[in-house]
Symmetry: C2
Subunit: 338 residues, 2 copies
C-alpha cells in the first residue's frame, strides 16, 4: 500500500484548469463563480478526493472550527451526559470537539491551556481549576469561552448554570413535608460551586422551617459513591441520627442507601434519602432515588450554542442561562409513588 500524498488546492486548480483562487471560492461559496466553472471544479474535487487541509485553512482564516471542552473527569455519569450534549450540538454546527479532562491536576493548566488555545476557537469550561487569572488571559488573547456550572464574581462572561440553590431548597422542603426535622446534608468539595449553592439551599430551607443548622448533621463528601458511604457511616453512628438525608449528588446518595441497608436501617422508613442530578442509575436503585433532575444534556447543548454564537458575535451582550432543577419523586424519600 503506497502512501498517497494528499492533493492540494494547487493540484485541483491544475487539473480543473482554473486558478487556486477559483477553487477556494467554490469551496467557501464566498463569491460568484460561473456555474459551469463551479461544476467543473466540484467534479475535479470529487475525482481527486480532495479535502482542504484544516491547518492551512485555520492559519489563513484564523479560525479552527473546533471548540474545546475542559472538565474534571469524563467517567462519571454527570459529565459524560453533559459532554454528550456538547458533542451533539457541536456536530450539528459542523464543529469539532476537543476535550481535556483535568483529573484534578490544576498545576498542569499552565501548560495545556495555551497549547489547546491555538487548536480551538473557544472553550466550554466546566471546572474550577481554571482560575480567574487564566480566564482573563484567554480573554485577552481573543479566545472566547463560556462557563458551565459555575460563575466568577470578578469576571463576567457567558455562562450556563443550574439553579442549585433553588433545587436544593426544593429537595429539603420535600423532606420537611414528610415531617422530617433532623435532615442531614452531605456536601461535595468545598470549592465546588455546586456544593456551595446546594448547601445554601439546604440552609435556607431549614431556616424557612424554623430549624437550626445542626453542625453534626452536615458532613463533607466528595460527590463520589465512596464519599457517600463514609458520610452515611458517620451519620448513622450518631447518638441521635438523622431521619433524612439530602445528599449533594446522586452518586453519594446511592452510597448512603447501600450503607443504610448494611446497617439495617430501612430506606425510606427509618432514613429518607434525596439526591441531586438524576443520573440514570437513580431509577434503578432499591428503593428508587428521589432527586432533583438536571437537564444535563441540555446544559451541554446550550453552552455550545452560547459559545458558537459568541464566536460569531464577539460584541454581543453577555448571557447567563439558568435552568431550574425538577424534583423527581421516587421512593427513597418515603413517597410510595411508583
Amino acid at each position: 500500500m503506497v502512501k498517497k500524498k494528499n492533493p492540494t488546492i494547487y493540484n485541483v486548480a491544475d487539473r480543473a484548469q482554473v486558478s487556486i483562487a477559483t477553487v477556494s471560492r467554490v469551496l467557501s461559496n464566498s463569491q460568484k463563480v460561473r456555474p459551469e466553472t463551479r461544476e467543473k471544479v466540484l467534479r475535479t474535487i470529487q475525482e481527486m478526493e480532495y479535502h482542504p487541509n484544516q491547518a492551512a485553512r485555520k492559519l489563513a482564516y484564523q479560525t479552527t472550527g473546533t471548540i474545546g471542552l475542559i472538565f474534571p473527569d469524563i467517567s462519571g455519569p454527570y459529565y459524560s451526559m453533559v459532554i454528550s450534549g456538547v458533542d451533539q450540538e457541536a456536530d450539528r454546527h459542523e464543529h469539532s470537539l476537543l476535550i481535556y479532562g483535568t483529573r484534578g491536576k490544576p498545576t498542569a493548566h499552565d501548560r495545556f491551556l495555551p497549547m489547546l488555545s491555538s487548536k480551538v476557537d473557544g472553550f466550554i469550561i466546566m471546572t474550577r481549576t481554571v482560575d480567574e487569572g487564566q480566564l482573563l488571559n484567554l480573554h485577552r488573547q481573543g479566545i472566547q469561552f463560556v462557563l458551565l456550572g459555575q460563575r466568577y464574581d470578578s469576571f463576567d462572561c457567558d455562562s450556563v448554570m443550574l439553579d442549585n440553590r433553588a433545587g436544593a431548597y426544593q429537595a429539603v422542603l420535600h423532606l420537611l413535608g414528610h415531617g422530617h426535622r433532623r435532615i442531614a446534608f452531605i456536601g461535595g468539595p468545598e470549592d465546588s460551586h455546586a456544593h456551595q449553592e446546594r448547601f445554601d439551599g439546604y440552609q435556607a430551607a431549614l431556616r424557612h422551617a424554623g430549624l437550626n443548622l445542626e453542625p453534626e448533621l452536615v458532613v463533607k463528601g466528595n460527590f463520589l459513591y465512596e464519599g457517600g458511604r463514609m458520610a452515611a457511616q458517620q451519620l448513622l453512628s450518631l447518638a441521635n441520627p438523622p431521619t433524612a438525608v439530602f445528599s449533594g449528588n446522586d452518586e453519594m446518595a446511592i452510597g448512603v442507601i447501600d450503607v443504610a441497608k448494611q446497617m439495617n436501617v430501612p430506606v425510606p422508613e427509618k432514613l429518607a434519602v434525596v439526591g441531586f442530578d438524576d443520573i440514570q442509575m437513580a431509577l434503578y436503585t432499591q428503593p428508587s432515588l428521589t432527586t432533583i433532575r438536571q437537564p444535563m444534556k441540555r446544559l451541554g447543548e446550550v453552552a455550545t450554542q452560547l459559545l458558537l454564537y459568541r464566536l460569531k458575535e464577539r460584541e454581543a451582550p453577555i448571557r447567563h442561562e439558568v435552568f431550574s432543577g425538577e424534583l423527581i419523586v421516587r421512593r427513597s424519600c418515603g413517597c410510595s409513588s411508583e
Copy 2:
C-alpha cells in the same frame, strides 16, 4: 478589555534581537543554541506570553499532536470509561483528543471523516459505522488508526480487543455450574462484533455441556436497559421459561432484574442473571450483578499507546492486543458471596 493580538515568533525574535530561526530552535530544543542566547529568548517568551500557533506549526511540521476518537455514543457507561482511559493516556503523551460521536448516523461519515482527518494524526475507531472502504481510504491518505473492540477480515491493522467469546463462555459455564440447563441469551445489535462473539461463546458453552441451542431462549436486544426489559418480558412469558439468563451486557441485565422483580420472579432464586462489562452500576443493583469484567479504561489506554507508537514507527509490525474478561461473582447468579 482590548483584544491583544497574539505575539508571533517574529515579535519574539525582534524583541530578543535574534532571528526567528533561533527562537524556533530554543522552542523545539532541536539544535544547539548558546546558553545565554537561550536564556534571553526564553525570558522574552515569558515576558511576551508567547505561545506558538499550533496551526502554523502543524502546517510546517505536518503533524497535529492530536488524535481522534470515533465512537457511537459517549453517554453510556462503557464508552465513557474507555474514553476516560484514552483521554488520560493522550494527555500523558501531550496529545490532544478530538472526539466524535456518530450517534448511529452512518451517512454522515463521508462528510466528517475527511474533515476530522486533517485535524488529527490518527484515529481510534470504536464504531462499526466506519467501514472497510473508508478505513482503506484513510490508510491511503497516510492517516493511521487503531480499532478498538472490533476487527475486519479484509483489512489488517492495529487493534485492541476483549476476548468476548472466552468471556461469554466463562459466564455461561458458571451458570451451568449452578445446575442451570435452560439458559437464555440476550444479544445486542446483530452487526456488533461484541454481540457476535458473545453469542458464539454462549453457544460453545452449551455445546460443551451437551445442550442444544433452544431458539426460543435466544432473544435479540440492543445493549440498552429498555432492550433488556423487553427481552425479559418475552422470556418470562414463555410456557417454559428459562431458569437463567446470560445478558450480552450489564445494562440489559439490569433491565432483566427489574422486570423479574416486577413479575415476582425472585433473582437469583428463580432466575439467575449474569451480565457482561462490569459497569459501575453492576455493583449497586439488588441483587448485585455477576458479570464479566472488561478493563475498559485499560482498553482505552492501550489503544492510545498503540496509536502513538504507530505514529512514530509507521512500518512497525501490526499488533493485536487481546484482553481477557474476568468473571466477577456477585449475587445475581445464585452465589451467596458478598
